[in-house]
Amino acid sequence: MSTFLGMPVHAPRGVGHLRGDESFPAAARTALGDSQLRRNLQHATTTIRGKSGRVIAELPDWQELRSAGSALKASTMARLPELLEQLEEKVTAAGGVVHWAADANEANQIVTDLVRATGSQRVIKVKSMATQEIGLNEALEAAGITPVETDLAELIVQLGNDKPSHILVPAIHRNRSEIREIFLRAMPGVDPKLTDDPPVLAGAARRYLRETFMSTTVAVSGANFAIADTGTLAVVESEGNGRMCLTLPETLITVMGIEKLVPTWQDLEVFLQLLPRASTGERMNPYTSMWTGVTPGDGPQNFHLVLLDNGRTAVLADEVGRQALHCIRCSACLNVCPVYERTGGHAYGSVYPGPIGAILSPQLTGVEDNASLPYASSLCGACFDACPVKIDIPSILVHLRNQAPHPRTEAAVMAAAAYTMDHPRLYRSAQRAAKLSRIAGRRGRGLPPPLNGWSASRDLPAPPKETFRDWWRNR
């Protein structure tokens, strides 16, 4: 069977959640004005950072593990087509059915058709970034099928009619009193005396979800890993709700980005050490579910694997940018990012927020459709240090900025500046102009846009009496 996925194209417009309604600076401005959000985020990211830092420090070979993870991913990407074919072969041999989806529309159609064929009006969902990316819930709802998110945080987001703002903790922007209000408003059969005590909130969700698990015959999941040489899929999670979805229903449909492959079973050894420590700050993730096709009499008897491209082949074609496909969605880069910590995830306009979102979303959609994201970083480098598979996020940001469409005035100013800097005599007269410049007003407070972005909160230094060059010449 052919695995040709078509010419590399970007994720289509009008479907899924990879593009925001406004630019990053505009969306960030709204988020920055929300002091409750700022407090929630600061508290949550500081806590996860501390926890993760402590368990990483326990491993003397953490740097070697990171290098191994990085090398494994690089070699996987180098022979992705061959490994995907191998995966298809193994899954099929084990009784599963493999579907190829070139983009979000195809994937949504495939899943909708599969659910329809079962006759079920409802599906339970394991937390999954890929299905968020393609807007599967909306597609199912449009077809009259009710998707129920079973990850606690994802459920909070769904019931609140909200959008996820973090890869791992989609409701990180909510605190417990907000969660109580959402449950009271939207959870079927909720106890009206609900308090905001975390165990009580979890108990309410458990009761609701248990009922749903017992009465639903179809589940949809993503996958953290797929092992090419055995055809095994793996989902790691903390709550056990994923395990329920993966084992109870009759039919399981897994939607997986084509980059989630690892070549062999043994390779998981590296990633299962890296992922929990970088992501939740646990030594081992509480639930690791693995399945290979269908096991008669045990677990789902129908298994479908939907392999999703949706722009990934285009990312793979970029020698620098393709590293973004190495991501194991641990969210460590979000938790250490000083920009994310202040703006939260919604400002990024995509299901992939934070540093990884800033390099992945523009590549999946084409840079024109997410032109402000590569600039949503001060290039401080904290993400690169935190990434368990050593993705050089700052370098990819710079690479994408070089591909982004530039505002015309800015481009003219930059060209003029470069020309001046390449002509020392012009440079020296420009320096004199800077020195004498009073047009900026007192300490720069009269600067015109966009430079007033600086002067709104910061003074300019007083121009010195002589440049270094002048001093050197006269000494």
Partner: protein, 241 residues
């Protein structure tokens, strides 16, 4: 040792005191400092803003200018970071230029690296009677990995009371054109950095990058906090006499 000064366009134009201090410090330690006149800007702003093509002539100029020297120093972690990690990339398919750029990069040091690693001094004989906190700038810390070299130098300064900056490793929010393109986010980051600086009770905040100090100093000045920003080179160049 004969050392070429890569002054950086920002220090040359806006912060000559940091550049002068670098010269006077190295001369005091018995070295010869030369200033290649043809230098202008390393191109970092262009590269980081997405204008690699415009940066190419600047990279060529930089390589040409500094090629003849065995040791090059700059009072900036960020500009040395650009030379070391970006110039060869900007050269792109021009393998000859890339190799020359890498060779220059290998001989280019940020000030604290030059002092501690190359010249082997940690006590430069400075005197600076102030309460000082040190902000490790992102590019010194995570691109160059200067580690605690600046602090080792500061601890040996007579009269200086070095106080630890809380959450020191967090970015101040400058990020070059980020500070203008994402002014609101940048300002929110700066606000936290300033709060931490003020918490130390220091009267001086120092760093190895004039650009980050311009940012932090600009905020501290706007709020009239009375805390000054002073480049590491200026502190190390200060003496009792």
């Amino acid at each position: 040792m004969r050392i070429a000064l890569f002054v950086t366009c920002l220090a040359d134009t806006m912060f000559p005191a940091a550049a002068k201090a670098t010269v006077l410090l190295l001369e005091r330690l018995g070295h010869e400092v030369v200033f290649p006149q043809e230098q202008t800007c390393c191109g970092q702003m262009h590269i980081n803003t997405g204008y690699q093509k415009d940066a190419l002539p600047l990279v060529k100029r930089h390589v040409r200018t500094f090629e003849p020297y065995d040791v090059v120093v700059a009072p900036s972690g960020s500009c040395v970071g650009s030379v070391r990690h970006q110039h060869a990339m900007v050269a792109g398919s021009d393998a000859g230029l890339a190799a020359r750029a890498s060779a220059v990069a290998a001989r280019t040091y940020e000030l604290s690296e030059l002092l501690v690693d190359v010249l082997g001094v940690e006590d430069v004989g400075a005197y600076y009677p102030h309460r000082v906190t040190y902000h490790p700038t992102c590019h010194s810390l995570r691109v160059l990995r200067v580690g605690d070299k600046p602090e080792r130098l500061l601890r040996n300064v007579r009269g200086l009371d070095l106080v630890e900056l809380p959450a020191a490793e967090q970015c101040c929010g400058f990020g070059g054109t980020f500070s203008v393109k994402n002014a609101d986010t940048s300002t929110a980051m700066l606000a936290d950095k300033m709060r931490h600086v003020l918490d130390t009770g220091a009267d001086v905040c120092t760093a190895g990058d004039a650009s980050c100090l311009m940012h932090i100093g600009g905020g501290l000045s706007r709020l009239q906090t009375g805390v000054r920003t002073v480049h590491l080179a200026e502190i190390l160049a200060s003496t009792e006499a």
